[in-house]
Structures are given as structure tokens and as C-alpha cells.
Amino acid sequence: MKDADRALVVAVTTRAVFDAAAGDVYGMGVAFPLLQSLQKVNERLLEKNPAESLLFDVVLIATDSQQQSSRIISSTSHYGLEVGRFCFSSREDLVETLVVNNVQLFLSTDRDEALQVSQKGVLSALLGRQEAPSESLRVMLCGDAIVRPDCDPVPASRGAAQSFSARLGEMRGRFGVSGSPLSIVLVTSSGGSKSCGVALQTLRSRGLSVDEAYCLAGAPRGPILSLLRPHFLLGDGVIDLED
């Protein structure tokens, strides 16, 4: 059980982790590579410091009555996934479940679900598709949200986003420039190189050191995003990776 105050609690829906399949064990879903990456980060953190408390704490949330709790638990164990907690909730109670479990980031493949959660102030993001397992956990940040003049209304999850990125920055800081199991990728869609530079420095001042930066300045996002293959993208509100 991870240290409740220090861990970065990440919740993922079981629908995203497991694919319905016949037999006792579920197939691997979209979120599978993500969980493996989160686990790898934890392993490397503990390697550096066996007493490390700033770790990812994964919570699996089942809102889908189609998936059976026993099969979820046995599938998790079958694949050797490290899950801190299982929560069996309903769609209506989802946000409450997240809040009660102190979830700092909610990941889903369902856009409506992610939006609903985000509007209630819990940081939420859509999962990216990974064709092949990647060497590191790739977190993409949308820089436009960082540089944008304060918009009205301020997105409900902005506070949560800022505190999450500060903690993430602390975690990233445990590793050196190269060979990190966690990569922070900044993308700005509009605005030129100057504003992307401002985003880099703003993030740095908040304790988050970015590894890769891509300034699109109005160029189409699709080709770049398909190359960058983030596990998820953080920005104002919920952003489609398939854009």
C-alpha cells in the first residue's frame, strides 16, 4: 500500500485495461502499455531509493457491469499488473469514487466519461493508442493551455493539472537527462516559437523539466501526434489525441 500522501494516484477504467474475451482471463486493452510503463517507472524509482514514496499508485475502476469482478482480479494477477486498489463503482458514482480515493489523474478511452470527470474538477485525460511497447512513459503536455491568457471560465481541473504536473516534475527530477523511464513532451499547436519558449520556462519554474518540445505554429497536429505516441495528453479540459 503506497504512502497515501506522497503517491501519485492514477485511476484507469477496467474497460480500458482489459478487452472482453472468452475464457477466464481478459485480453489486453488499450491501457495495457500504460500500466506497464507506470510500473517500470516505479521499479526504477525504487531501484534508486528503496524507501521512495513518490510512486505511481494505480487504481482500477470498474463501472462496466459487463466485466466480472472476479475475472478482473484474476486477469490482473495473470498479467502481473501491480494494482493498488480495485473499485467497483457505477457510472453515476464515478466522480465520487475518484474523489474518495484521492485520484490525481483519471484515464479513460471514453471521451464523454473523461469530460464529465474533468468538469467536476478531477484531472482527466484520454489514453493514446500504442502500437508497440515504448521504452518510457510518455506524458504529453499541451502548451497552449499554459500560455493562454486566463480564459473565462477557468477550466475546473486546472488546479488539479498544475499540482499533478508539479508532482510529475518532482518524479522526473529523480532521473538524469537521458535514460529516464518517464519522458515529458510539450506540444504547442498555435502560437510561435516565442510562446513555446515561455511555456518551457513556465513549466520549469513550476518544477517540471520538459524533455521534448514541438512547436507546430498552426501546422496540422495529426502527423506529429502519430509520431509522438504519448500514453496520454494533459491540457485544459480533455483533448482528443486522434485529432
Binding site: 513555446c196 514541438y214 505554429a217 495529426g222 502527423p223 506529429i224
Partner: protein, 359 residues
Amino acid sequence: MSEIKAKDFAPTGDAGEEKDAAKAHFDNLKTNKPRPPKPQYAVTIAVSSRTLFNMVTERKIYEDQGLEEYVAYQRDHENEPLMPGPAFPFVKALMTVNARLRQLYPDSEELFDIVLMTNNHAQVGVRLINSINHYDLTIERFCMTGGESPTGYLEAYMTNLYLSKDSEKVSEAIEEGIAAATMFMAVKENELSDTQLRVAFDGDAVLFSDESEIIVKEGGLDTFFAHEKKFENTPLAQGPLKCFLEALGKLQRKFYAKNERLNCPIRTFLVTARSAASSGARVLKTLRSWGLEIDEALFLAGAPKGPLLQKIKPHIFFDDQMFHIEGARELGTISAHVPYGIGQKYNKGKLIESPAKKK
């Protein structure tokens, strides 16, 4: 308006694009800078950090002390602008052409778009952006890949020409069909035009394929002359830089259309070791068959290129043979090596033992 690129790419949803366009417009209202052109209309030039700026000192730190020290050094010197690198005059000249194009065609997106394409870490990027701002360079797009080869991103940014100091990355790009060259600083600095972009190209294995060069290397000069005469009316196959010359030509014609031929801010040169009498015709006929013009064709008949280039003063000179690159540099011409074709297997006329290929 003819497209400079005939490339298809998956468009973003209309709503997304509109929102981006509106946001970009809003941003530019604030900064007074013109909006960067859409990649599918622009002539995109990707430059690496070491071609844009002089990073010789920093490179040495990286090689001697490793990546962490290098990044720390760059961070410590973040507010000191870097000195110009070999591609700097070329980039300034591109900006000059853009200013003229905007005067004549205020709504057109057929412009040069300069992209910084580097595998530097984003923390080093802060110094790069500060330096770009210091010189007021119009570089609005960039990729800082933090270690990964940027080659994959060249296509995503619809790159027409890629300039780097790293010959491996350049070779990779050429293999992907993207015009690319390895840049070399000149030993001394010639004074270059600040009103006209001047680009010089070698012919064989740069604008044209290396088919004729193969004949010279394997059969000697006499065989070569006989072959070229025989096939005078058969166009040569394309070389890696042909498409870039084509893109320059399309922009030149925009000036001609507005009666600016005499005052055109782009001038192209062919500087070839071929001789006009014996093997020159095929070259000119090939260009004509492609619908391409070159402003000046200079046939050296084997004489060294350095002195002539010193007179021409191009912002960049492309050649496939290091021998010519060295000769050009020595006399003050910024040169770019195109690692293509049979010339790579030879050094000063002698066949090099090829090293085992890296896996």
C-alpha cells in the same frame, strides 16, 4: 495558385483547424508578426541547431564531458545568444525573399518556412529560442526531440530541404527522398548579398543522378564524353536536390509574373565540372525537359570550383564530392555536402575501402 507540394496528409477536423487558425490569428495580432504559412503551400527548410548556430564549444563539452554536463552548460548560458552558424546567412536570405513575396502577394502562403529540427533536449531549447529571438529570425516551428533522430519528423513537417552537421541524419533523409545536405562553415567569410538569395548547385549526383559519374569513374573521361554525346537528347535521371531547385523556380516565377525578373531576389547557379563543349548540352537539355530554369550555368571543364564560387558568392553551395566542398570552403564559400551516389565511395579519385555497415 499552384501548389509547391503535391502531398496528401490527413486533415484535422474542420472545427479544430478553424480554432487553431483563429487562435494563431489572435496571437499574431498581439505580436505583429505574420502568420507562418501552411506547410502544404510553403517551401519548408529544416535546419539543425548546429547549422543555424555555432555550437563548436558546446559540442566539445558534449563530446568530452557527456550529455548531463552539456545540458547544464547550455542552461547556465541560456541568456547568452549563440553565434551564427553556417546556415545563418542562408536563413537570413530566405527571410529577405519572404519579405519581397509578402509585398507582392500579401495573402499567399507560398513562402519559405524555416523549421528548427534538432535532437537536442528541450532544456537546451530555451537557449536556442532565446538566440532565435535575439537575431529576430522568423523561425516559428521547431522539433526538439530530446535524443531521437529528427528524421521521422521531416516528413510530418513536409520538409523540402534539410540541413544538418550530422552526415548520418542527412543520408537517412536522402534515403527517404528528402533533399538534404551536410553543412560546412567556410574557412573565411565572403561578403554575401543581403538583397538576393543565391544558391549554387553541382550537377551530377546533386541535381541529376550519378549515372554519368559512374561512367567517368568506371570508364574514364573519353568513355564519358562519348556516352554523353550519344545520349545528349536523353534526359538524365533526377538527383536528390532537383525538387529543391524546382521549388525555388516556382517562387522565382511569382516574381516574373509581377515584372520583377530583373530584380528577382532569388538567383540559381549550376557549377559543374563538365565542359560546355563536350558534355554540357545534355545537362541543359535535361533541365529544359523538366521545365526548370537555372539562371547561370558555369562549365568548368575540370577546373577547381573554389575561385569561381568566390566570385559568385552563393549563400550555399551543394556538391556531392568532398574534394569540391573543401576547395569551396577554403576560398570562403559556405558549402553543403550531398552524400549521394558513387562519389561517396571515392576520395580524390581513389576508391575508398567501405567500412562495415553499422546495424
